[in-house]
Amino acid sequence: MRVWVIALVMLLAVPARADDEQVEQHTMRFIEKGDHLTISTGALAKLFDSKAYRALSSGFTSTVVIRIWIYPKDSSKPVAFVLVRRSVVYDVWDEAFDLQLDEPTGRKRVREKRQADALKRLTSIELLPVALLAKITVKQIYALAMHVELNPVSKETLAEVRRWLSQGTGGGLDRGGAFFGSFVSVFVNPKIPAADRVLKIRSQPFYRPGP
């Protein structure tokens, strides 16, 4: 019977491949501004589905974490890295959205009255500094990789949420064998993802033209 159950599960598993996160290609704008290379893109607009959009007004914090790497073509060693963290919480009494934006240029706190504006603050990337120009060699070809998470969950929290799976409910007389053994269980098994949504984005190749 168990073999049949496993075969069934494996059969069901085949279409699950499509559920995996894929790296997407996006065309971005690269602009020099002062000493920095900046980017602009609308790639984050689909980070929020309707449920995540509704959750913005729940009174609980929603957080977007953006990691950006720039690396030379044919290399996986980045020459620049930027971390952006944007959070929003709805003030149920003032009926306004308080945002905290941690960007390469520093921390900013702003307030928006409209939910759509708060969403725009969270997801827009306009002239975001991503590297010092000194790090970008002229005529060398580069690409940009971006990893975006909505409400990422720490590994400690993930471990805590699933800890009951490995804890069991105590043992009987046969503890020695159980101590060495592994387990296989059948039950309704909900699992929380490491983030509500993850986008993996890659830019088109680009280079910095000479003077």
Partner: protein, 495 residues
């Protein structure tokens, strides 16, 4: 959804400040792996200065959607309570949803705030979707020479009457083969557990076990002879219970203290002996008192598990120690010490993982047979014991050609495994499967009786009962449970 959305890209109007080099093809020639970042400057640990948003007073907590689980169980799990004053971005609020999910009783948890009776006061609304909490912990079935067929199951209801109390049990039945003195075996166990007494970090669990079994032992022939003709068996009966008091030091670390009382009745042969292949006859110690005897022990366990995913682990570690001491009023004066350590390292952007798994145990003194380390505890390619019943007399595969007469029970044993896992896929469970890994592992195991090592007629190296085991297979994490399909598991049901 994710994929559909990714197709619905913003058709961004691209104003190219940097010329896109032509004819450089896009994509294929770029590194296929995510770039490995230099150590990245994570945001500073959240502290009071990181908190923003309005200051709130929790006026009331409303709970909905729970038809079986009592409100009190959910309220206890929340890291906040009525009367607390905190910022809207407080970490306790962010953690609240996960604390409720960690109970394991709910499929979904949604939190929202509403205006309270006065400015600054809020009502915290918690909506849950309950799920089935019956767990099928184990299925036993298989066939061996010693037991032509066996079957059984172990179930737990994790949230009895919505009280947060778990109750469960298992039963296994095994028919007897042609070994003289053997009989049909069966065992049953009942368990109850409350992981959080009155919402505190203290928990209590207990189990009652009844075993009606028979143990086979070799009286002649070579250890590698799988036939039943040179085995005899004696009947025994065990009845006892264990109770554990647990304390959650942190969410990931648990200490427990236990007490066990067990009565054993064994109809032992008067003077069991074995004729060795060279014709010598030696006495056998079956490590049991004849007729009725009692085992009482006290124990202590430490357990810490930091693996974010205990089913398909690619990072973190799991460490555990367990010590048990034969206490007063026991006919057996002994101590056992078990330890295990597993550590997982993610490779290639966590799509692969390598792990080391170490497990070892030592038994000191006059331990009853059932408390000693069985060869199937350390060699995964053998039939594991089920609720204490031994279901196979098969000898381990002699792969290294080391000492052939490896003991069935020992007082010093362990295993060391290196395992490599490759992610087959990961998903969000939309297609009922969260993920799957293929894995391959190779391990060294050993089991010895220290008396054998002291009195030996060969070098220590050739006297050490060491060997290797190999295992490979697939692990699946699905929304109906966890499945492991492995070579060793298959062998353990047929030998």
């Amino acid at each position: 959804m994710h994929r559909l959305l990714s197709l619905g890209l913003l058709a961004a109007t691209v104003r190219v400040a940097y010329a896109q080099p032509d004819p450089i093809p896009v994509g294929p020639e770029l590194p296929t792996e995510e770039p490995q970042p230099e150590p990245e400057p994570e945001p500073a640990a959240e502290g009071p200065s990181d908190e923003f948003g309005p200051l709130l007073l929790i006026e009331r907590i409303e709970i909905g959607g729970n038809t079986a689980t009592q409100d009190e169980i959910i309220e206890r799990a929340l890291p906040i309570t009525v009367g607390d004053v905190l910022r809207a971005s407080d970490k306790r609020l962010a953690d609240a949803r996960f604390k409720i999910l960690a109970l394991g009783y709910f499929r979904e948890v949604t939190l929202a705030m509403q205006k309270g009776s006065a400015r600054g006061k809020v009502i915290l609304r918690v909506d849950v979707v309950e799920r089935g909490t019956i767990v099928l912990n184990r299925l036993w079935f298989g066939t061996t020479t010693l037991s032509p067929y066996w079957f059984g199951a172990d179930l737990t209801e994790r949230n009895l009457f919505g009280l947060g109390v778990a109750i469960g049990g298992g039963i296994v039945y095994a028919s007897h083969g042609n070994v003289d003195g053997s009989r049909n075996q069966w065992a049953g166990e009942l368990r109850a557990a409350d992981a959080s007494l009155l919402g505190t970090r203290l928990g209590l669990n207990g189990a009652l076990t009844l075993v009606h079994g028979s143990e086979a032992y070799r009286v002649a022939g070579d250890d590698t002879d799988p036939g039943a003709g040179e085995l005899l068996a004696f009947p025994y009966r065990r009845f006892g219970g264990r109770t554990n008091l647990t304390y959650d030091v942190t969410a990931l670390t648990r200490l427990s203290a236990s007490m066990r009382i067990e009565a054993i009745k064994a109809d032992l042969p008067v003077a069991p002996t074995r004729m060795l292949p060279d014709g010598r006859i030696v006495a056998i110690d079956l490590h049991l008192e004849p007729d009725n005897s009692t085992v009482t022990t006290i124990g202590f366990t430490y357990d810490r598990d930091t693996r974010p995913d205990p089913i398909l682990p690619h990072s973190g570690y799991h460490i555990g120690f367990s010590a048990e001491l034969g206490a007063a009023f026991s006919d057996y004066q002994f101590a056992t010490l078990f330890g295990r350590y597993e550590h997982y390292w993610g490779l290639f952007d966590d799509k692969h993982a390598i792990a080391i798994k170490l497990a070892a145990g030592v038994v000191v003194g006059d331990a009853p047979r059932f408390d000693r380390i069985h060869v199937a505890d350390v060699d995964r390619m053998l039939t594991p014991r089920a609720l204490g019943l031994v279901l196979s007399a098969a000898e381990p595969l002699d792969i290294l050609g080391t000492r052939s007469d490896k003991p069935t029970y020992g007082d010093l044993g362990g295993s060391a495994t290196v395992e490599y896992a490759i992610q087959l896929w990961r998903g969000k469970g939309r297609n009922r499967v969260y993920g799957g890994d293929a894995f391959f592992g190779v391990g060294l195991w050993g089991l010895a009786e220290t008396a054998d090592l002291r009195a030996r007629d060969a070098s220590l190296g050739s006297s050490l009962p060491l060997d290797i085991y190999i295992d490979a297979g697939v692990r699946l994490d699905t929304d109906i449970g966890i499945f492991e399909l492995t070579v060793a598991n298959g062998l353990g049901r047929l030998r």
